[in-house]
Symmetry: C2
Subunit: 121 residues, 2 copies
DNA sequence: GAGTATGAAAACGGGACCGTAACGATTGCG
DNA sequence: CGCAATCGTTACGGTCCCGTTTTCATACTC
């Protein structure tokens, strides 16, 4: 089955999950950085700076800086591509996987807490 | 029925919706500002600076600045409380309501696009 | 081997946000 | 009336992100 959300459910979930996530990760992770992180962990590798920039429609320095930030947090890891040493392959880390998993749990929890849609009573 | 999400569904939805939202609103709206906006439009009024700050666990200047930004965008409106002129009541606007509605549509659309969970497929 | 093309990072200037602290305006109390 | 408390805003110093441009290393082509 696909997921069928009512407007108040969708917005309520979004609000609750965003709020919970802010508490979890703090204000130090931009929406863009979050998207980049999720992309790395949800989409099949390999991931390169150029590829991510094109896929997410941002400039390359945005990716570079996001990798700096998240690399310092231990959420991702950079590895030189030995086939073509100009490329950088972005690798996942155990810490990052746990982090993403935590976000998933959080959304699931918020979804479960959702009240029925007000339209139906 | 409550909403029962599988991990890959939850993260996929989060990723897709965040990405779509970034394209919609641009990088000019912080996650905090978004939470504030949703709170104003989803929770029953009246909303004050102090109330929002306490409820969302941020400092008052964060609310003030968010109201500046979103006020310039026409998404919210400030009105002095005539009962107690120290207070500021945050009012909704037509433009803001449409904006929030758009976000809801976007999430619903992304939820509908979601594939079945990989565990069972 | 020289010259061009490509990938990522660094440099630069500008702008926004953050938390703390200080500031006016308003209220309530004695 | 004077004084403390409350509410929202502004000021300040710092940090981070952004897009553009430049730099550096590597790969490809002739």
């Amino acid at each position: 089955m696909s997921i069928d959300l009512k407007p108040s459910q969708a917005l309520g979930l979004w609000h609750a999950a965003t709020l919970a996530q802010l508490e979890l990760v703090g204000p130090d992770l931009t929406m863009r950085q979050l998207v980049i992180l999720l992309h790395i962990y949800l989409k099949p590798p390999p991931h390169t700076v150029r590829g991510l920039a094109a896929r997410l429609d941002v400039t390359k320095p945005v990716i570079t800086r996001a990798l700096d930030t998240m690399g310092n947090m231990g959420l991702v890891r950079r590895v030189r591509d030995e086939r073509d040493r100009r490329n950088v392959i972005i690798k996942r880390t155990v810490e990052g996987a746990l982090f993403v998993e935590k976000i998933g749990d959080l959304i699931i929890k918020e979804a479960a807490k959702l009240p029925r849609d007000g339209v139906t009573g």
